[in-house]
């Protein structure tokens, strides 16, 4: 940004040639931005409209008020999905945050082979969620995966059947999701740790603070803006989680691991109830806004404070 301002302010250049020179920049930024914004907004409005119509197989006009919303909210599928989202969202965000932070701190010790380790931890992020889900569904299957391995090795009392246990199945999704994305949290935290001013750390050391105290009192407090970013990014992933669950448990056993995105897909494309599916999608949008709006407000307040300071 500052770069553009400084070139624009350079004296002795005619305004028109300046405009022409900057045209590619405008085209590259504004055209895609406007297109995707129009795309996003128009389809959101379309979905909101459909959610108030009696559409089933194909979109139709008409007005049914809140009927679709009432029937989605009253359905067992949605209630289970919402409870699961609360559990999955909280567990996944907290655990991936702590795992990522721990990995980052361990990697920050200037150890040998850091690049290799960092790549290994980041690598799951490059794998598609469908692949993650499928592989973990094999690993966690008691008949062919970890449980069988333990049994074959002689530990016959070992019991690990979460995938087919309806009370624990949601945790298998947490496990797979953490495996996939704690590397992302690690990368951000590591960048944060490396950007801490080394003078402050040296000052703390001179004052006699040990490594634990240095991290706890000096380094970690500087990381909290990154923490908020990680939480928001992970939360929006948790809310829109679809492919991982579909490949891992497909909402099962029974309907024990339903999540909102699965309910939307199910209503729209499996049950041919477009109106109700759209209502569920709008409810998801509202949940997302409940996370994103406070974040936006927080950023706004922070920027204003920074400007004042």
């Amino acid at each position: 940004m500052t770069d553009i301002v400084s070139t624009a302010a350079r004296p002795g250049r005619p305004a028109t040639s300046e405009m022409v020179r900057r045209l590619p920049e405008f085209l590259m930024i504004w055209v895609p931005l406007l297109l995707s914004a129009a795309h996003l907004i128009s389809f959101s409005i379309w979905t909101i409209w459909i959610s108030f119509t009696p559409s089933t197989l194909v979109p139709v006009t008409g007005w049914v008020g809140l009927r679709n919303y009432n029937s989605v909210l009253a359905s067992r599928n949605w209630q289970i999905a919402f409870d699961n989202l609360l559990l999955f969202g909280t567990a996944f965000v907290l655990l991936s945050l702590t795992t990522g932070l721990l990995l980052a701190i361990l990697l920050d010790q200037r150890i040998r082979g850091e690049n290799v380790l960092r790549t290994i931890f980041l690598y799951p992020l490059a794998v598609s969620f469908v692949v993650t889900g499928t592989v973990w569904s094999w690993l966690l299957n008691p008949g062919i995966g970890i449980e069988k391995l333990a049994h074959d090795l002689g530990w016959t009392s070992f019991h690990f059947d979460w995938l087919v246990n309806r009370d624990m199945a949601i945790w298998t999704i947490v496990i797979a999701a953490i495996w996939q994305s704690s590397g992302f949290a690690m990368a951000l935290f590591l960048a944060g740790l490396r950007s801490v001013d080394s003078d402050i750390i040296k000052a703390a050391q001179i004052d006699g603070a040990g490594p634990v105290r240095t991290y706890w009192r000096v380094i970690l407090p500087t990381l909290w803006p990154i923490t908020v970013t990680v939480i928001v990014v992970q939360l929006q992933f948790a809310i829109s989680a679809f492919d991982l669950v579909r490949a891992l448990t497909n909402g099962g056993p029974g309907i024990a691991t339903q999540l909102p995105a699965l309910v939307v897909y199910d209503l729209m494309f499996q049950r041919s109830q477009l109106g109700r599916g759209a209502a569920a999608a709008v409810l998801m949008l509202l949940i997302l806004l409940a996370v994103l709006l406070p974040y936006a407000a927080w950023r706004y307040v922070r920027q204003r404070r920074a400007a004042h300071a």
Partner: protein
């Protein structure tokens, strides 16, 4: 292998389509052409529809089939997109009450004349015929029939349990399962854990206990029947079946258990006739197992009907219209139905096809005899689990309850009955 074949065929098809206009103009007549979509892409289903396409080409037609692999609903999403775009296929796979629902969103072809000319109506089960003429006119044609509640018995499993009597009622079935269990089979029943599979466990239970109650509750959604004593008994029987299944199966399909079933580590399987095609494809022999009608407490076979069909969408192009008529004639042709069923393991829709000849298995003969018998006793009913009894939305709401009940053993049969009734109320 099937994929390459299909691609090549598609290429050949499109090349032919490109060459066609000039050719047709030169000839001064239309060559029948058919655009079709279905979910049948691989295995015995793919082979069967490819064979049908060959017959279509032999009659001088141009066959343009685009398979959409996956569930029926995936195929429906493509169909929906094409209908909204105003370009429906000349013919598509569709079945059960969905025929009526979809026929309201786009115009279909009136097939009454061609059906009458073939004398087809006389040889189709009346309940089935009704589904294909929702407003009194034939707009779709059934192609093949399966029963979803056939009982497969493993020969080696029976030997292991020292059992030789084929079970007739649910009491017989339960005795045999116990016997197999005490003979050392940890899990006597080889069913899987998919939604449809759980639905089949329940519909087989209810229809076997009382076909009348099944008709009232699952087909007519009669409130009193939905809360009746037979429903509770059916849920109790479903629990027994699921207790005898391998809990590690999770949401996997029954096909994963077939080796254990043939080896005699599992003894019984409640499945549609298509399992025969799957067993054959997996390299197992017909004498590895016996097929018999599913348990029925009144001793007479109960047939849970599942039928695949083609619906014909209105098109203006003369060549497509000619193609539709040719396709309709082929689908109703006993020779074509014989060819098709012999590939997939189903039975023909026509009740006048003779299954005594070569190419038919004992399982298919048993199934066809069961259908005839069940129709005579008014015990042929439409399958809920395979979307024949209700539209998708209602079916899914009901299967939700059933699959949750199967997976969650703390739900009591009483509770399941009231949940199912509530789900029906909520989805209507």
């Amino acid at each position: 292998m099937p994929i390459t074949t299909t691609r090549r065929r598609l290429l050949a098809g499109s090349a032919a389509a490109l060459a066609l206009p000039a050719f047709a103009r030169a000839q001064g007549a239309v060559k029948p052409r058919l655009t079709a979509i279905s979910q049948w892409s691989a295995g015995s289903d793919g082979a069967a529809i490819t064979a049908l396409g060959k017959k279509f080409e032999e009659k001088g037609g141009i066959w343009q089939h685009s398979p959409v692999p996956g569930f029926t609903t995936d195929m429906m999403n493509k169909l929906r997109a094409q209908i909204i775009a105003g370009d429906p296929p000349a013919c598509s796979q569709l079945k059960g009450p969905e025929i009526a629902a979809w026929s309201k969103i786009a115009p279909t072809v009136d097939l009454d004349a061609v059906v009458a000319a073939a004398g087809y109506e006389k040889v189709v089960a009346p309940d089935l015929a009704k589904l294909h003429k929702p407003a009194g006119k034939w707009i779709a044609l059934p192609l093949q029939i399966y029963s979803t509640n056939m009982l497969f018995l493993s020969k080696r499993g029976m030997d292991k349990a020292k059992a030789d009597k084929v079970p007739v009622t649910w009491a017989d079935f339960n005795d045999l399962a116990e016997k197999m269990k005490s003979a050392g089979m940890s899990y006597p029943i080889a069913n899987g854990g998919t939604r449809a599979d759980d639905g089949q466990k329940f519909e087989a239970s209810l229809a076997g206990i009382s076909p009348t109650a099944y008709r009232a509750a699952c087909m007519n959604l009669d409130k009193k029947a939905l809360e009746g004593p037979e429903m509770k008994a059916a849920f109790a029987q479903t629990r027994k079946i699921s207790d005898w299944c391998d809990p590690n199966v999770g949401v996997q399909p029954y096909a994963n258990n077939l080796k254990r079933f043939v080896d005699g580590d599992m003894g019984m399987l409640i499945m549609g006739g298509w399992a025969q095609g799957v067993l054959k494809n997996a390299g197992f022999k017909f004498d590895d197992y016996v097929i018999t009608p599913g348990p029925s407490d009144n001793g007479k076979p109960v047939f849970l009907l599942n039928a695949d069909a083609f619906i014909f969408w209105q098109r203006k192009e003369a060549d497509l219209q000619a193609g539709q008529m040719l396709m309709a004639q082929l689908v109703m042709d006993p020779a074509i139905q014989t060819m098709y069923s012999q590939i997939t393991g189903s039975i023909p829709v026509r009740t006048d096809v003779d299954l005594s000849g070569e190419g038919w298995s004992d399982g298919q003969r048993t199934t066809a005899a069961a259908l005839k018998n069940a129709m005579g006793n008014n015990q042929a009913v439409l399958s809920l689990a395979h979307n024949m009894a209700q539209e998708n939305g209602l079916t899914a709401a009901m299967i939700d309850v059933i699959t949750e009940y199967v997976k969650n053993k703390t739900i009591k049969p009483d509770e399941a009955v009231s949940r199912l009734a509530d789900a029906v109320e909520g989805a209507r």
